[in-house]
């Protein structure tokens, strides 16, 4: 989230699209009801189903799964056409006036530089025109045909309301009504907030869906302002923390990049990360990259990291491919290329697409270790449960070890919420049986592996032997020790650069912010964005003062928000060019002539002159981007792309299947189905009654939603002869499931390009373990197709067929 949960109460209009906040984030959704109750805010829901969010919405429109970009580009087109643009914001805080290279272009749904062979774009042309001074060329008059504004206008021109209706199945009058409601938020004193989740990310063009809305929010001047923003609702408790501390195969903590094979030494690695400003006076904060990276490596290797050995850069892994994520690992496993798999807090047998392929992959492992508080389906993938897990146990030779872990309530630590708040929690119960904390288990494994290397040697022992392991109990690092390590500390006395006599931070002390990090090895910090979470004043994450003097939902003394306890990112953009808040009623920060002051921590140097320094300090431009340069693999503008399995052809280019640069392996390409055999569009989702695959182990949750079902329209039920509450079989080109049928008017057939499209809704919560009735999940059916940028599987739009089933699936 750019903003925070509590800030949603400041909004005038909530649009829930690509998510279902009431359903999947009911506790956070309270802030929507607060906004409605106290500010008279309106709520729009755009979703294939009339869902729980829609049940309390002011306006609802249906949309065909996988067509969001067309809808969003349509809204942008409408706003431009009807001059619903916050001009002061757009002119000053975005790259609207920047000139783009002459050779950049877009045609037939594709951008320049596509190579069909490698399924990749050569992004050479996706760049600004850079002047001799190293700065971007601009045209403040917006007359130059190569300025972003004119390219954007041309790009969205095709997305007329008629086009939107044809592609999305959204009735034109509903689409236009929503455009009008959104358009009202282009004034400085009205804001819209976007709440989205996996409804946008789980597509082969998920990141572009989000880009689409972000661009609309920029057009309306809604980024960085109270009640505005792009608010990703994180689906797992602490999944925000997971990405923050770099539990991705291509990241290291704080969103730093894992080195690649092509970056053999630290200086090569740093050479592409200078991040020099592209406009005068800009902060371009990533210029501090070296400080963050060196401090990370000092934290990692301790005294072993020296200037001479490049701070231990050699000991970091180097990627030979873009990433070793689940998609790739499971594909490798299925080919027998993986021997051992540690599965920690993850239940891929229910959560990853193409379950059949996964079972096959796990069956080829030698050892599977599952660390989880619950007995997961993954740990029991070899058990035969009739139709619910139809495997031949005797033929599976994989050894499975289950290491029971504590659950969140049995351990202390911080959980990072969607609003980037690190909220400390304390141990509330003692774990049952022999369960241990994940830290303890991993520390034990590490110590034993280390001992083996010490005693027996081995290939490349340095990464194991050189790790700094300064914990009081080497077999059980505590949450406090790890939190302090993430925060960072001074390794030597840190002196004032202007006055070497003044010690700003004595050696050994915790630092209070990432501004104190240095690139000379005198500071350590495992995750620069967490700096400030555990300072010399103690555990900032454990703060529980819920007062809010400004009434803006800032709650500055409740826990700690990264970065720097800032509650709203880009909040400098909540003020005009002179530093006056766009809306005097809603003040986060303001310029008092000398400094930025206000209830929130300014997202800019406190003395930065508002007329000189742009609000988007992480970008070298200092502005935000309508044109995203080379940062997205599938284009600098979002363009409509069909799902890989779609009932209709892409009107922009009928020969294009899915996202031309999305990730898909050969085998998975062969597993795709087509609409002649699978005419129905399936989409997956969560239900309020359950949390993923955990709560089916809890009787109370199981009671409130006991059995796997799929949702279909009355029209489809009639067509197929399916009874409400009857049993159905749903199958795709990858597998089949049996379910109960919820026949509802909340799903309606849509008409796209003259074709009637039926949607089958498939919730995710059932498996063959736990207290609920045995069932299936959509992952048996979904395709292994990864988003081009973030590799999320395309769970929200794929093709299936359905028929009534007699009995079926008897365990």
């Amino acid at each position: 989230m750019t903003n925070s949960w509590t800030d949603i109460k400041n909004t005038d209009l909530v649009i829930i699209m690509g998510g279902n906040a009431a359903e999947a984030h009911p506790c956070g959704f309270k802030w929507v009801t607060e906004a409605k109750h106290n500010r008279g805010a309106k709520l729009i829901v755009v979703d294939p189903r009339f869902n729980r969010s829609a049940s309390v919405a002011d306006y609802y429109a249906p949309i065909r799964p996988g067509s969001d970009i067309a809808f969003l580009m349509g809204v942008i087109r409408w706003c431009i056409e009807n001059d619903k643009v916050q001009w002061d914001y757009v002119r000053n805080f975005t790259n609207m006036s920047y000139l783009v290279r002459e050779d950049f272009g877009w045609q037939d749904g594709m951008f320049t530089g596509y190579d069909e062979e490698t399924r990749n774009y050569d992004q050479e042309s996706w760049e600004y025109q850079i002047g001799e001074d190293g700065y971007v060329l601009t045209d403040e008059t917006l007359q130059n045909p190569r300025c972003v504004w004119n390219l954007l206008k041309a790009h969205v021109d095709v997305y007329t309301p008629e086009f939107v209706e044809k592609v999305c199945g959204t009735p034109k009058e509903r689409f236009l009504k929503i455009c009008e409601m959104i358009g009202e938020c282009s004034t400085p004193d009205k804001t819209m907030t976007s709440m989205y989740a996996l409804g946008w990310t789980q597509h082969s063009k998920g990141a572009q869906n989000i880009r689409g809305m972000a661009m609309l929010q920029l057009l309306l001047g809604n980024i960085g302002v109270p009640g505005g923003g792009m608010n990703a609702l994180r689906g797992h408790s602490n999944i925000q923390g997971l990405t923050d501390v770099g539990l991705m195969s291509n990241l290291i903590p704080g969103y730093l990049a894992m080195p690649k094979d092509s970056e053999p030494d630290f200086e090569t690695y740093m050479s592409t990360r200078a991040n020099a400003p592209l406009r005068p006076n800009q902060m371009s904060y990533w210029q501090n990259y070296r400080k963050f990276m060196v401090s990370f490596m000092k934290s990692m290797w301790g005294d072993n990291a020296t200037a001479q050995n490049g701070w231990g850069y050699d000991w970091l892994p180097k990627l030979d491919v873009a990433e070793y994520d689940g998609m790739r690992m499971f594909d490798m496993m299925s080919k027998g290329e993986v021997n051992v798999y540690f599965c920690q807090g993850f239940n891929p047998i229910l959560s990853f697409p193409n379950r059949g392929k996964l079972t096959e992959a796990f069956s080829r492992l030698k050892l599977l270790v599952v660390m989880d508080p619950l007995e997961t389906e993954t740990a029991a993938f070899w058990e035969n449960h009739g139709a619910y897990n139809d495997v031949d146990s005797a033929s599976i030779q994989t050894e499975v070890l289950e290491l029971p872990t504590t659950c969140f309530a049995e351990d202390e630590g911080a959980t990072v919420n969607s609003g980037r708040w690190l909220q400390w929690h304390w141990k509330g119960a003692t774990q049952p049986g022999t369960a241990k904390t994940d830290n303890e288990i991993m520390a034990n494994i590490y110590q034993r592996v280390r001992k083996l290397y010490e005693e027996e040697g081995g290939k490349v022992p340095e990464p194991v032997l050189n790790v700094a392991w300064d914990y009081a109990d080497p077999l059980h690092p505590t949450a406090e020790e790890l939190a302090k390590e993430l925060n960072g500390k001074a390794l030597a006395d840190l002196t004032d650069p202007a006055d070497p006599e003044t010690v700003l931070r004595p050696a050994g002390q915790q630092i209070s912010g990432f501004g104190e990090l240095r690139d000379d090895g005198t500071t350590a910090g495992a995750c620069w964005i967490y700096a400030g979470c555990w300072t010399e004043d103690g555990n900032m994450m454990g703060r529980r003062d819920n007062s809010d003097p400004s009434g803006m939902g800032v709650h500055q003394n409740w826990s700690f928000a990264w970065p720097a306890n800032r509650r709203i990112l880009y909040n400098r953009a909540s003020c005009d060019l002179d530093g006056r808040p766009w809306d005097p009623e809603r003040v986060l920060i303001e310029w008092n002539g000398e400094r930025w002051v206000g209830p929130d921590v300014p997202d800019i140097a406190v003395t930065a002159n508002p007329r000189e320094v742009g609000p988007f300090i992480m970008n070298p431009e200092g502005t935000s981007r309508f044109f995203s340069r080379r940062l997205m693999r599938d284009g600098p503008f979002p363009t409509h792309m069909e799902p890989f399995e779609s009932p209709v052809a892409n009107p922009l280019n009928p020969s294009m299947r899915g996202n031309p640069v999305a990730r898909i392996f050969e085998r998975d390409l062969a597993d795709l189905g087509t609409s002649d055999e699978f005419p129905l569009v399936a989409t997956s989702y969560r239900l309020t009654e359950h949390f993923h695959y955990w709560t089916k182990h809890n009787v109370t949750n199981a009671v409130t939603q006991p059995e796997f079902f799929v949702e279909i329209s009355e029209e489809l039920a009639a067509e197929k002869g399916i009874q409400k509450g009857g049993r159905v079989r749903v199958w795709s080109n990858r597998g089949q499931v049996w379910a109960k049928a919820v026949v509802t008017r909340r799903i309606r057939p849509m008409v796209c390009d003259g074709k009637t499209i039926h949607v089958v809704g498939i919730p995710i919560h059932w498996g063959f373990k736990g207290a609920a009735r045995k069932g299936f999940g959509p992952n048996t059916l979904g395709p292994v197709v990864g988003d081009a940028n973030i590799s999320t599987p395309e769970f929200k739009a794929f093709l299936v067929n359905i028929e009534p089933a007699e009995g079926g699936a008897i365990a």
């Binding site: 309020t688 509450g725 909340r746």
Partner: protein
């Protein structure tokens, strides 16, 4: 001496942590089932109410889960029968339930998904209490809470007939009637009901009835501004008002919400049965018995004479024929 716990005025109320005495005393009872002369209470507690703002409800069932947890009930794991309502009905182990209704609004042409939390309404004039034959099995406190006292309950099911809202359910094995208590045990120690505390959207709120009516008015105004011209408060006067109230977008048609009664009142049959019939029946039976006794004491008994015995002998001797050879 421990203090009495404060009367809670919000669902979020957290009482002080030091031990406190229950503030819902036996003497606060104003009505008791099958008991006519309840002593006048020494004090009048502030009337409380739970307000359920249907327009804010997202049907998440957190209230159901909280209810199960707090009351330590064990509802059965049922099947999916094609709807979201689970369990499918109130049970002795499930005191509250989200009921989902799909509604096509003919005025606007818009589809609506109406979700109502069902459960005891805590009537000011409770039909269950009126129907109950067991003294002390149902009580009403002066703050409006209608509570079932299981120790006194005999499981007859008369409350089922008495309730205009179809709420009480008889436990199959414990043989006592069960329903929402408005968390009387929480209210007694200064806390709001568990469901209201758990509700993520504050669709369920709790406080004094006066405050809740005022809050409802604000909500109704908001709903009217959003085009729900018939928004209103459901506080049915047919049962003297209720201590669980709804804000409805369509207050003109409560029955849209999964059959919420449009104009609930204690059935005249129940009124008659527990009123005139009870008195008249006792009177008639008593009078008849008394009359019989009196008649027996005062009137000459109907006795057989010796003469008749002889007549019988003669008749039998003659094979049933009279002396005069009459009838045979």
């Amino acid at each position: 001496m421990k203090d009495l716990a404060p009367e809670p005025t919000t669902a979020q109320a957290n009482p002080p942590v030091q031990p406190m005495e229950s503030n819902l005393l036996p003497s606060d009872v104003v009505r008791v089932s099958a008991t006519s002369n309840v002593p006048q209470p020494e004090r009048q507690l502030t009337k409380v109410a739970k307000l359920i703002d249907v327009s804010k409800c997202i049907g998440c069932k957190a209230c159901q889960a909280a209810c199960v947890e707090w009351n330590d009930t064990h509802p059965a794991l049922e099947e999916n029968v094609g709807v979201y309502d689970n369990p499918h009905d109130l049970t002795p182990e499930m005191f509250t339930l989200m009921r989902f209704t799909e509604y096509e609004n003919p005025q606007t042409g818009d589809f609506e998904w109406l979700i109502r939390k069902d459960g005891c309404m805590h009537c000011e004039d409770p039909g269950c209490l009126k129907a109950c034959p067991a003294p002390g099995a149902i009580v009403q406190y002066s703050n409006g809470i209608v509570d079932f006292i299981s120790d006194n309950c005999i499981g007859c099911g008369y409350c089922v007939q008495g309730c205009p809202f179809d709420i009480p359910r008889i436990h199959k094995t414990a043989h006592v009637s069960k329903k929402c208590t408005l968390c009387s045990d929480r209210v007694a120690v200064g806390q709001g009901p568990a469901c209201a505390k758990a509700c993520p959207t504050e669709c369920i709120s709790f406080g004094t009835k006066e405050d809740m009516i005022a809050k409802a008015e604000g909500r109704i105004e908001d709903l009217k501004s959003r085009g729900y011209d018939n928004a209103g408060l459901y506080d049915p006067q047919g049962v003297g008002g209720t201590h669980v109230m709804y804000v409805l977008h369509h207050a003109d048609q409560p029955s849209l919400y999964a059959g919420l009664p449009d104009d609930p009142q204690i059935s005249p049959l129940v009124q008659g049965w527990k009123g005139p019939a009870k008195t008249a029946g006792m009177a008639v039976a008593g009078l008849a018995a008394a009359g019989a006794v009196l008649h027996g004491l005062l009137a000459r008994p109907n006795e057989v004479s010796e003469h008749e015995e002889q007549e019988a002998e003669v008749l039998v001797d003659q094979g049933g024929r009279d002396n005069d050879g009459g009838q045979a």
